[in-house]
Amino acid sequence: MGKSNPSPAGRSPAKPPRIGPTIRPPVAGLSAFAGMPVVSMGGSRGAEVPVLDPKPSTHFSQAALNEIERGAIRRFAEAMGETNPLYFDEKVARAQGFRDLVAPLLFPLSLRSALTLTPVSPPNRTVLTSEQQVEQLEPICAGDQVAVSSRVVETSQRPGNAGPIEFIQIEDEGRALDGRLLFRTRRTLIVRAGREQPAPSTNPGA
């Protein structure tokens, strides 16, 4: 399991799948990922593979294609409190030599590899981000297509009051369709058991 993506690290497949994800039943067994639906990018039927190898690996998952929309750039820039017109007005961006609206540095945080299509929030656990890094190698603009893939860089465990605390570092990379590296992000997640085993609250009576 998990060794099913033989492509060497750093080379994304020439044709990332266009089709939406298939969400499958939760993974059992692996504690940090327990309860997380496995998302696999639809390809030919039966060819579904767990997209992310939960074990540390130098191999990236199969890439998911992200189409960069103007509205998504604007909404993200607004959410981050950005005010630069390059992120909001394509005329300004073009006048400064860009193809279209420019995505802010942090925009890749909103892009999805197959892994992050689902919220990383296993039941009865809380997830905190302890560390985050974003690096853009080239500007990303509206209209671009970016193939995003993930890998687990390392995991570790430490005993805690309410059970083991797990640390997971995940790296994402985004590439243009010709394989050029556009961005890299890393985040370290701390997964621990909730004190009272909370489940997301629902409407009364639901």
Partner: protein, 187 residues
């Protein structure tokens, strides 16, 4: 464009401080907006009963909003999107109502090909003076106004190597001549 002077590589020195930037008080709407825009639906950001049941006193701010504050500080300072890389460690939880003061300092500069890069130490304090985020960043700047106008006109970049400081050649690296660069490595 803004009347304030633009920051160029040639005008920066190691040890220069970045003008601090202060956020408005963090609010829950902002957390929800972030969750939606980033697709990061961690219930700790938006679901108060969940957060309480998990032992927190309220919902907590997404760490990425700290990165957002640093990015805004740098965009204001540099007058443009010249930021290449941001890294942050989230040392303490940021709560609704917190007022964040973002700060930073230049720790290095070097040319890499056509790229004039500036390395930065960055941090965020809350209203109680506690350091809640600590990080680093890299910006890539125009060397100077001449470099900028040349490139924007479609011309070649200006290639200039940092001269050793004229007063004291040879001491560009190890020299203790710049008192400001000292004592910055608090780790």
């Amino acid at each position: 464009m803004p009347l304030t002077r633009k920051i160029y590589y040639s005008s920066l020195q190691v040890g220069d401080e970045i003008p601090a930037w202060q956020s408005p008080p963090l609010d829950r709407i902002q957390f929800a907006r972030y969750a939606g825009a980033a697709g990061d639906y961690n219930p700790l950001y938006v679901d108060e009963p969940f957060a309480r049941a998990a032992g927190f006193r309220s919902v907590i701010a997404p760490g990425a909003l700290g990165l957002g504050g640093l990015s805004q500080m740098l965009t204001e300072w540099l007058k443009g999107p010249f930021l290449r890389r941001l890294h942050a460690k989230f040392l303490k939880i940021m709560w609704p109502g917190d007022i964040l003061t973002c700060r930073g300092r230049v720790t290095g500069k070097h040319r890499e090909g056509n790229d004039y890069r500036v390395e930065l130490d960055l941090w965020i304090e809350n209203q109680d003076g506690e350091m809640v985020v600590r990080g680093t960043g890299t910006a890539s700047l125009f060397h100077s106004a001449q470099d900028e106008s040349q490139r924007l006109a479609g011309g070649p970049p200006l290639i200039v190597d940092d001269p050793p400081s004229p007063a004291d050649p040879g001491s560009a690296k190890p020299g203790a001549s710049k008192g400001t660069a000292k004592g910055k490595s608090k780790r």
